[in-house]
């Protein structure tokens, strides 16, 4: 039995800044960055637990999240128009309420 996805396509999210894990699929350059849910990818064994000898259950939910180059790369103007999509597990994401105010 899996939990229902917390986020829907189009939802604005922020990548959480969790304390360092022995192994994670979430790269540091995304920590704290805002993105948009592009799609729900399904439920998978938890890689952070599978990496350290645990079962990886219960399954955790994975999303593909779209980031805009302009929020990721301030160092290179040519990257600003780029889009980066990264698959991120639900526990690394939080809803981004900052847009609701505008």
């Amino acid at each position: 039995m899996n939990a229902r996805p917390k986020f829907n396509k189009g939802d604005r999210v922020i990548v959480r800044m969790l304390s360092p894990q022995p192994h994670t699929r979430t790269p540091a350059y995304l920590h704290g960055k805002p993105g948009v849910i592009e799609r729900f990818c399904g439920a998978f064994e938890n890689p952070e637990e599978r990496a350290i000898g645990k079962s990886g259950f219960p399954l955790i939910l994975l999303y593909r999240v779209r980031f805009f180059g302009s929020v990721l790369f301030s160092i290179n103007k040519t990257c600003e128009a780029d889009i980066v999509e990264v698959e991120i597990y639900e526990h690394w994401l939080q809803g981004d309420n900052s847009y609701a105010k505008t």
Binding site: H23, T24, P27, A28, Y29, E45, P47, A51, I52, G53
Partner: protein
């Protein structure tokens, strides 16, 4: 590596010299290492899972990580995992390497 990087593998977003994206043919030993990983991790054997394999590569240490190429890292990580899991001993590996060098 950015200040918040998780390890030497976590390079995205950092400045670098231009990257050589030219394809090259793999050497025979590289194909063999790839095959050995696939055999160790397949459904029949399941000695190693992809997550612990990635973790083993990330845990080689910054110096070993940056000084070795892709399949050299695979080789070192496989060696460490096989020893950790008591599938091979350090002594067995050392003896086998010596045997091959003496041929």
């Amino acid at each position: 590596m950015s200040s918040s990087a998780i390890g030497p593998h976590d390079l995205a977003g950092t400045l670098t010299d231009s990257i050589n994206t030219k394809e090259r043919k793999l050497d025979l030993w590289e194909k063999r290492i790839d095959a050995i990983y696939k055999l160790l991790s397949d459904d029949k054997r399941s000695h190693i899972n992809i997550h612990e394999f990635r973790y083993a590569i990330e845990s080689l240490g910054a110096e070993a990580y940056t000084n070795h190429n892709y399949y050299e890292r695979w080789t070192l990580a496989l060696r460490n995992l096989l020893i950790d899991k008591n599938i091979l001993s350090e002594l067995e590996i050392t003896q086998k390497v010596q045997e091959i060098e003496d041929r």
